[in-house]
Amino acid sequence: MVGIKSYGAYIPISRMNRDIIGNAWGTRPIGGERSVANYDEDSLSMAVEAALNCLDGEDRQGVEGLFFASTTSPYKEKACSSIVATVADLSKNIWTSDFANSLRAGTSAMRTALNTIKSGEAKSIMVTAADCRLGTPRSVDEQTFGDGAAALLLGDSDVIATIEDVYSVSDDITDVWRTDQDTFVRSWEDRWVLVNGYTKNMKAAISGIMKKSGLTPKDFAKVVLYSPDARSHMDLAKSLGFDPKTQLQDPLITTVGNLGTAQPLVLLISALEEAKAGDKILLASYGDGSDVFIIRVTDAIEKAKNKRGVKRGVGLKMMLPSYQKYLAYRQLVSLPEEFIKLFPSASVMWRTQKWVLSCHGSKCKHCGLVSFPIQRVCFGCHSKDEFEEVRLSDKKGKVFTYSLDNLAGGVDPPTVQTIVESEEGGARIYCLMTDCNPKEVKVGLPVEMTFRRFHREGGFYNYFWKCRPAR
């Protein structure tokens, strides 16, 4: 039986009350809050978070593929899936692939993974989807959009839900788009978009799968519909014969916003979190057509319920104090130039990938001392090249000492600098702390590691690890 083995979701901790946006522009706020990726986050780093949440307790070496789906990949040419796989410490002998350019990319990646597993080519594949789309300043999109990511581990055994059937329709319609020249999402007249784009295609796909499978709306415990806003999915559900009150999954528009490519997967996770064995779930994505899945929850669902999913992600939040911070986070305003920059080197980053991306330290086989980054000669006993690599990214730590630095610059001063002592052999890691209230930092504060974007010197993105208060 092919299906979902595990899930993980990631919602950035920052939320912006939509009143802040409305007040900034003198426009009507649409109500509620939206999630905002921190200044050091992007679709890739959010996909990593979701992937690591999904992999918690899973066999990483058994994962035979990793897909990354996004319309906001940090790269136009270069695979992010390979970066995510390396950061997640997966095997090198796997298939990685990026799915792009459509809000359906996440479900397309799911369908590809499903077929690959069904064909017997792979036993398990991870699908990640993330988006961090920009609405034009002052537009309703700016308020509606949110940032987030999801990861699903698909496989042929120990599944928490089976994927029973799949159906797709394709339709060329320039309703919502970005060209290669655009920073912000564009769209045509909204009534036309709703009627001839979203509603028509979703109906066609959902009716199609119902007909194909011989199921009726009553057969589903939950229906998970891509939702461009807080209302359209309700009208759609009603017109298809579902009861919006009992069957429809909350699209989280009022709490986090429209998460783009990640939205269908995030909402599916949300549904799985509340599901019980035997439940049938209908999942439908949208974007120049629609992908629809029929999913049946198995008895194994309970084992997934301690994963870091959507409920937890929605619940953890820190409010962004101003619209200016949002503009700064998304680099929509120019801040004072950084005076001294780190030197970029693709070859250095490649050579040191085992600790920069995979977060490996070295554990001395002689004296047991654990060091980060990897040390060829042991700090403790001088033995050379006699160490085993240990992964520190999934280990907790404590703040050994720290400073709140006003000189260090950056988007969001003060810079919280810490030395973390890892629970893995007391390894010491100098790192910046992110997603925190500087006032909560103290010696002994429990922290966890988080993968973040650092800078774009050299014309490419440099990523590395930070810490954040353990939550």
Binding site: D405, N406, L407, G409, R428, I429, Y430, H455
Partner: protein
Amino acid sequence: MESIKDKIAIIGMGCCKFGENWNKGPEDMIIEAAYEAYEDAGIDPKDIQAAWLGTVGAHWIGMGGLALAEPLKLQGIPITRVENWCATGHEALRNASFAVACGMYDIAIAVGFEKLKDTGFPGLGVGRGMHPVMEMRRTAPSSFAFIATRYFHTYGLSLEEGKETIAKIAVKNHKNGSMHPKAHFQREITLEQAVKAPIIASPLGLFDCCGNSDGAAVAIITRADLAKKFRDDPIYIKGIGLSQNSMMPHFQPGFDWTGFEVTQTAAKQAYDQAGIKNPRKEIDLAVVHDCFTITELIIYEDLGFSPKGKAKEDVDAGTFALDGELPVNTDGGLKCFGHPVGASGLRMSYEIYKQLQGKGDKRQVKNAEIGLAHTLGGHPSVSCVMLYGNDRG
């Protein structure tokens, strides 16, 4: 292993006015310090047989020895450029000393300088380093703020107690610096000013940080047995210690962040050479690397002046004030004299040299016979301790 004790004598020193020397290039500062030293030693530039130059940056005028050969027209002799973080000035003198001690040269010159104020940035810079990401946003203040946070935590000082303790060091150094006409900052401050100053990197405030200054300092040395030919009051090197640990103690397992092992080990080397058993009693004054006030507090302990964790008691008692039991940073230290990195080790030695000759002016320490100069560099990763005496013994 032989000791350097009493093998080398300093016969002349010079030091330019430190500060924001907008109207002076490195060459101007080097010329001023060098010609003061020539005159002090009573030598002609042609008498110099070898030179060592210490500077950390200086990229804008080239590297190697040319930054020294060019302004002083020291042509046709060996010039070596050395760099060892904030111990760079000491490193120039140290290497010159070994070359003279072995008999290769009779007269050598050690020069240190830095021109920080042409960079357009008020501090030493942010997040440079050896790797594209691992030192992200590390600053000099934060590295030493780590020490302050951990020290206060370990020894149970509240933030208020800790800040007041290190503020007293700033007040002392400002008082001393106000009496030196070549210091960058020459005004006294109050305890309240120091405690309430804007935070640079918590818990360190503005007055906990040393000046970023331009400057140059010079020493002329010879073999001890030749020294009296040049002057009646040469100053002798009694010991030289140098020590390193990690490039980034930030990642070193077990690094305790309440002391600097490099200072302890460098001091031990120097004390052993000089035969110092009880540094607090035997040393008459010290000029130490107070890049931050917390650094000076820790140094008291690392040099063996105060017991571990007890430096606060000595600060409160005024032990290290100009009229105290063991005056420290009699010229204002890095805090007030300023910290042009490559010059600092030699500037410290300049103060000791003058004090041991009885030329300390208003700052003169009574009966000063043995003085210590200490530099600490990196994050912190390297330390040099040099001991001087006015008696060849």
